[in-house]
């Protein structure tokens, strides 16, 4: 990209910002409340029921397959020696990566930028984070040979005086993921409290008011409460901010720490973080475009929001692409025969070459269309690109994990990896479980932060 074109893009952005509102129209507080809260008490329509049924059945399948895996053993999966990690870890890295965009949007943009564009979408992306981390969190547990001893990865004063082995990345990983999950829950829930109170106050039936009332924790909207709330929210955002960087950095050390060709690389932490945010933003787009349509939120989730996310996709895609090039260059630069074989021979031209070319197409080539403003503002095109990025990023993890493992040092130990129906079922099951949680979230929880939006509206329109 030339400097001139960068400058022209920047200029274009500046022009957009001037013309594009974050909120369309001038709704009153009352109207906003009704628009954004009423879905929690409206009756469930047939379409919703169908969606709940499908995702619910998929979740049941997931539970059944988890039961099967725990009862029979990890052998139900396609893992083997040399590919001792497979779908389980791929899914883990992918899901946890998806979570990152939510935290990035909510926390980093809040703390660093005080970005106003985040307001309409942050609750949504936080929900996505939370539910993605729930999916991700299952896998480190499930993939263990003896999951019932998973707590041995945590430091606790055991009677045998045994502690986790801290040179391994895995206890740190366990700590990072559980920290991430707990901070994400708190951050999400705290932000939700004023809106839960809003639902409590406006819900038509008594029992709804009671349930929402319990979760609203007695929020009355007093100045005192708002003061404490703001401090707590900003503090949690401050806590969550480094997690965006640390969690996936530590996850990347699960690989980078090993001596395996394709894993043994110092580039992994930033590379993984960029990849995580990349896939996370792609998932935001994948989810927000249908939600925006279903709930008719064009006035609060505007083209400008989508445009911003698309630009973020473009930026992270570039970082990821740069990382790919770096990996290959360093393999060549190192002169290490095993790295060279892995990066320049096996990945692009080996048994799993199709994975490589699809992921390059999805993550590096197709995203280039986002240079065009027209594409960025075309919801269909954006949706397709984002969905392909999701696929590409899953395949990237497949590439890193499976292709590296199946082609290591001694050709004698090379062995193909093929997932079983259980692997595929569990992956599908996590989609359904994620979908179920997300649908429930969309249906019963105010997924656009109403209070913040009102605040924004007053700031924006009060200018």
């Amino acid at each position: 990209m030339s400097v001139a074109s960068a400058a022209s893009v920047a200029a274009e952005d500046a022009a957009e910002e001037a013309e594009d509102p974050i909120i369309i129209g001038n709704p009153t507080d009352e109207q906003l409340s009704d628009q954004l809260l009423s879905h929690t008490w409206r009756p469930i329509t047939r379409g919703w029921k169908l969606a709940f049924l499908i995702t619910g059945l998929g979740t049941l399948m997931l539970l059944a397959l988890i039961t099967l895996t725990v009862m029979r053993g990890i052998g139900m999966w396609g893992n083997n020696i040399p590919a001792a990690w497979g779908f389980g870890i791929i899914n883990f890295v992918w899901w946890i990566g998806i979570g990152h965009a939510g935290t990035f949007i909510s926390a980093i943009l809040l703390v660093l930028e005080q970005q106003r564009v985040r307001t309409s979408i942050n609750r949504f992306t936080e929900g996505m984070t939370l539910f993605a981390v729930v999916q991700a969190g299952m896998f480190p547990l499930l993939h263990l040979g003896r999951p019932w001893f998973a707590y041995w990865l945590f430091p606790y004063p055991a009677e045998m005086d045994t502690w986790p082995q801290v040179r391994s990345a895995l206890p740190w990983d366990a700590a990072a993921v559980t920290t991430y999950l707990s901070v994400s829950i708190m951050f999400w829930y705290l932000g939700l409290v004023p809106d839960l109170a809003g639902v409590r106050d406006r819900a038509p039936t008594l029992w709804r008011r009671r349930i929402y009332g319990i979760f609203a924790l007695g929020w009355s909207g007093s100045v005192q409460q708002w003061r404490h709330y703001k401090i707590a929210y900003l503090t949690l955002a401050g806590l969550a901010t480094p997690l965006v960087i640390s969690v996936h950095s530590i996850v990347s050390l699960d690989f980078a720490e090993a001596g395996l060709p394709g894993w043994h690389s110092t580039i992994f932490p930033p590379f993984f973080v960029a990849g995580a945010i990349f896939s996370g933003f792609a998932m935001v787009v994948t989810l927000i475009i249908p939600a925006r349509r279903v709930f008719k939120l064009h006035n609060v989730i505007t083209a400008r929001h989508l445009d911003m996310i698309a630009k973020m996709l473009l930026v992270t895609s570039s970082i990821v692409t740069y990382s790919y090039v770096c990996e290959m260059f360093l393999a060549w630069w190192s002169g290490d025969r095993y790295e060279l074989f892995e990066q320049l021979r096996e990945r692009p031209f080996g048994f799993y070459a199709v994975v490589f070319w699809v992921l390059i197409s999805c993550n590096c080539i197709i995203t280039q269309a986002l240079w065009s403003r027209r594409v960025r503002r075309n919801v269909v095109a954006l949706f397709i690109i984002a969905a392909l990025v999701n696929v590409g990023m899953w395949l990237e993890r497949f590439e890193i994990i499976v292709v590296s493992l199946t082609r290591d040092f001694l050709p004698s130990s090379w062995h193909q990896y093929m997932p079983t129906w259980v692997d595929i079922g569990i992956l599908t099951g996590t989609f359904c479980f994620f979908g179920l949680l997300f649908l429930a979230f969309l249906k019963w929880i105010p997924f656009v932060p109403v209070s913040e939006l009102k605040e924004l509206k007053h700031e924006e329109l009060g200018k």
Partner: protein
């Protein structure tokens, strides 16, 4: 208290009842402690007994380890000349054969349980009628005496085993006038030309050969081995020069050698080399080579000090009594051992026509299914007997355990047939012993396992004559019907350990596959796994094909032992056909069928991909310093902390020059360390559980290179620092240890192991069969599902040796690991880094595998050194 009236007795009664109720899932079984402990039996301490395992009448002396009366492990008997302390994989797996739930468990008549009296009655009838007894080849003086009595009583006796020594005796009969047995001694051999020889499974010869091929440095004078063969064998792997030929080409090659090589420069060079070696040169032929080849080999070896002749050790070997009988006019047929209905389909028809038939055997196999009376036989580890080793050494056989299923022996059956009073087998043997071995007391012989100086004497005047030998003409596709290296003629097919032991050259497990060269396969459009039909006249079999680089062109090798139709469950599992259907056929038609089978081949890539993996070179290169293996040895800088060291520093050195890839070590490891069997499907998935594997690579010249690979016990172990729970740690003695109880199964250790020698329990792989469990080594944990495992350097043996040394206040006696102990060629050396291993590690061709990874492995290798003939290029 008094109101309760609970006496001490009733309290215990109640407590007993309560505990019984609590343990109600356990069946009540009487267990009895040793009230008077037998002096030789200390619970927890293994006892060792010398005995022998017999195959085709020839005994291999073994030492059997028993725990509280259960035999658990078999080692070679160093005092027995047929073993020299080593074993084949087959002997290692024999324990599993003993505890086989498929063994015959009761006497049956027409498949209905019958008492022994029914057998006695049937034999009484047989005694009066025309009866034929078909035995396995035997060398037992006890049985030989009984055979003489049978013949005196008018009964006829013959012997059958499909792969016994037959061709060599026939060949010797051509040039020596009578069927004498060749006795080869390679102790002083300089040049060995092997015509389809199978030195690797011939334990004494393998040891002699490896002793003659010890490379200390580039100046070592080692024997040179040429192998001319059809199918790539373990002998071919260790040969310095190898040539692949059709089976019938062997005779022509031998003829050409006899004529000085003719116009074939390769053969001429070999012939010159042989001539230069003088009496220290020898030409040997394998048992599967034809009689002509053996005759020519004898002529070529005339004057060699390495070859002598003796009377055959097996009774009447090489005579017509070793052909299958005609059964014309026979009323009763007794088949005492073997499985002729399978190994000779032609005989099966005759057997079906027999009026009364009786079978003594271990399994309800094809023969048993065709016989009216079936009697369970005794396993070698259950019986009293006597046999001779390959060289004639008298070998007593003693039982380790009471017959598990009340089996009967051949001698017992013959006594019953002769109408003798039942006699205790041990008393009989003890009484007859002074007759067999006057020089050694019975008890002493039992303790020793062999009677020295009872080998068959060499016949001094046996000089091969120069009779002209006609070589057969070549054919388009020639069949080579071979015993399977582990399943033999199918008698071991029900042993899951042997089924799951990868054949070294093909790395194939569980299924049969016809081997053919890449060019032959290409010409017929055949790929590995394609089912091919082999036909000769009206006989045909369909087997999957496997392409083996280095196999002879225009030939197809079919291993026997498959296509089993008996009641043995394991033997019936593999895909395959009975190769004996084509027995005797030389030329076969090869046609591809539409069927394709996924074969369980344990190594996906046969190539080294230009990586310095299994290193090697020639002796001259080593002498001239051109191998430069030093760069694969030096310590690489490391960030990992130094481990504290104390006690003996254990290490291992594996010599790739003498290693034949016979896989005895792999089997020994599995037997010692309770390795589970996982089945074909799991092997295809990449989940085999052997701690030790024989890596096989095909180098740029098409030669097969092997490298036994197991945990290298790295001093800077990559597995240790990635384990989140410290389940794999370093011992002060340099062992990389695995704590199963602590393992949660993240498998990160395996991912980070550059040698990929760790094995994971993907399922609950361990055996739940109570009979099979009897064979487990009680000193090794049986691993549960979900934990990682790997080679431990047989830590249980190390601890035993340490404890013994500590108790007796003496220096430690260095134990052998199971693999090192079984190794026929001493290619695996185990010991202390600064004592036993110090010298070998200083040799110029010692190297560390994946040295540049900085793992500093304790197990290191001696590169494969070829003693090539400078006259032969390439």
């Amino acid at each position: 208290m008094s109101s309760l009236k609970l006496s001490r007795r009733s309290l215990f009664k109640l407590a007993g009842a309560a505990s019984l109720a609590a343990c109600s899932s356990r069946p009540a079984r009487a267990i009895l402690p040793y009230a008077k402990q037998p002096p030789e039996l200390v619970p927890g301490i293994a006892s060792y007994y010398a005995t022998a395992l017999v195959e085709d009448g020839l005994a291999t002396g073994v030492i059997v380890e028993a725990h509280e009366g259960r035999p658990t492990k078999i080692e070679g008997n160093p005092d027995h000349p047929s073993s020299g302390g080593a074993t084949r994989a087959i002997e290692q797996a024999a324990v599993l054969g003993l505890y086989d739930p498929d063994r015959l468990q009761e006497i049956t008549e027409r498949s209905e349980p019958a008492p022994w009296q029914a057998i006695e009655r049937a034999l009484a009838v047989a005694r009066r009628g025309r009866t034929h007894v078909l035995l396995e080849p035997t060398s037992s003086p006890l049985v030989i005496e009984l055979i003489a009595r049978l013949r005196n009583a008018g009964m006829t006796v013959s012997f059958w085993s499909p792969f016994e020594k037959r061709e060599s005796l026939a060949g010797n009969a051509i040039v020596l006038g009578r069927p004498l047995q060749t006795r080869v001694d390679l102790t002083n051999a300089d040049v060995i030309v092997s015509l389809d020889g199978d030195l690797a499974s011939d334990l004494p010869r393998a040891r002699q050969l490896s002793d003659r091929r010890q490379v200390i440095d580039g100046t070592s004078q080692i024997a040179r081995l040429y192998q001319i063969e059809t199918c790539y064998s373990t002998t071919g792997i260790i040969a310095d020069h190898r040539r692949a030929v059709q089976p019938s080409e062997l005779a022509r090659t031998a003829s050409a050698l006899l004529a000085g090589g003719g116009d074939d420069p390769w053969l001429a060079a070999v012939a010159r080399d042989l001539k230069r070696a003088g009496t220290r040169g020898v030409v040997i032929a394998g048992e599967r080579a034809s009689a002509e080849v053996h005759a020519l080999a004898a002529q070529l070896s005339a004057g060699s000090q390495c070859v002598a002749y003796c009377e055959p050790v097996v009774f009447e070997a090489g005579t017509p009594s070793h052909e299958l009988p005609d059964l014309e006019g026979v009323d009763t047929l007794l088949v005492l051992g073997g499985n002729p209905a399978y190994t000779s389909p032609a005989f099966a028809a005759k057997l079906a026509a027999a009026q009364t038939s009786m079978y003594l055997g271990l399994y309800a196999n094809e023969t048993a299914q065709m016989c009216r009376f079936v009697v369970p036989a005794q396993h070698d580890l259950e019986r009293w007997d006597v046999a001779r080793g390959d060289d004639g050494t008298l070998t007593p056989i003693q039982p380790l355990i009471e017959p598990l299923f009340g089996g009967h022996s051949v001698a017992e059956m013959l006594h019953a047939l002769l109408g003798d009073r039942p006699i205790d087998a041990r008393d009989e043997l003890a009484a007859a012993w002074p007759k067999f071995a006057p020089a050694m007391r019975f008890e002493a012989a039992l303790a020793h396992g062999a009677v020295p100086k009872t080998a068959a004497p060499a016949i001094a005047d046996a000089k091969p004559s120069r009779v002209p030998i006609n070589a057969p003409a070549p054919v388009a596709i020639e069949l080579a019907l071979r015993p399977h290296p582990f399943l033999h003629d199918g008698r071991y097919s029900n042993n899951p350990w042997l089924q799951e032991l990868p054949e070294t050259v093909t790395k194939l497990v569980w299924d049969q596959a016809a081997q053919l060269s890449p060019a032959t396969a290409l010409a017929h459009g055949i790929a590995t796994g394609d089912v091919v039909e082999l036909s000769s006249f009206d006989r045909a079999i369909a087997v999957p094909a496997i392409i083996v680089p280095g196999h002879a062109e225009g030939a197809i090798t079919v291993p026997a032992g498959y296509g089993r139709k008996g009641a043995e469950r394991v033997a019936r599992e593999p895909v395959g056909a009975n190769a004996f259907e084509l027995a005797g056929a030389r030329e076969v038609r090869l046609t591809r069928t539409d069927r394709h089978i996924e074969l369980a081949v344990e190594m996906e890539s046969p190539l080294e991909h230009h990586r310095p993996v299994a290193l090697g070179g020639t002796l001259v290169e080593l002498r001239d310093g051109k191998l430069a293996l030093g760069k694969y040895r030096d310590a690489v800088p490391t960030l990992l902390t130094e481990m504290p060291r104390s006690g003996p520093q254990w290490a291992m050195q594996i010599d790739q020059t003498t290693c034949t890839g016979c896989a005895a070590c792999v089997m020994a490891c599995a037997a010692e360390n309770n390795s589970p069997v996982v089945g074909k499907e799991q092997v295809i998935r990449g989940r085999d559980m052997h701690w030790l594997r024989i890596d096989r690579y095909i180098d740029d010249g098409g030669a097969t290179v092997i490298q036994p690979m197991t945990c290298q016990h790295c001093e800077k172990a990559p597995c240790e620092y990635v384990c989140p729970v410290e389940a794999t740690t370093h011992s002060p003695e340099g062992l990389n240890e695995m704590t199963y109880n602590r393992c949660v199964g993240t498998r990160f250790c395996s991912n980070n192991c550059p040698y990929k020698v760790r094995r994971f329990n993907w399922f609950d792989f361990k055996s739940h069969d109570p009979l099979r469990q009897l064979g487990a080594n009680p000193n090794v944990t049986v691993r549960d599902r979900g934990v990682m495992e790997k080679c431990t350097y047989c830590v249980q043996r190390l601890r035993r040796a340490e404890i013994d040394a500590a108790v007796e206040h003496r220096a430690i006696t260095v134990p052998k690991t199971a693999c090192a102990q079984a190794c026929p060629t001493n290619a695996i050396v185990f010991g202390r880094l600064d004592v036993e291993i110090a010298e070998v590690r200083r040799r110029p061709h010692s190297y560390a595998e994946l040295h540049e990874q900085g793992t500093r492995p304790r197990t290191q290798y001696l590169a494969r050194i070829r003693n090539t003939n400078p006259e032969i290029v390439g």
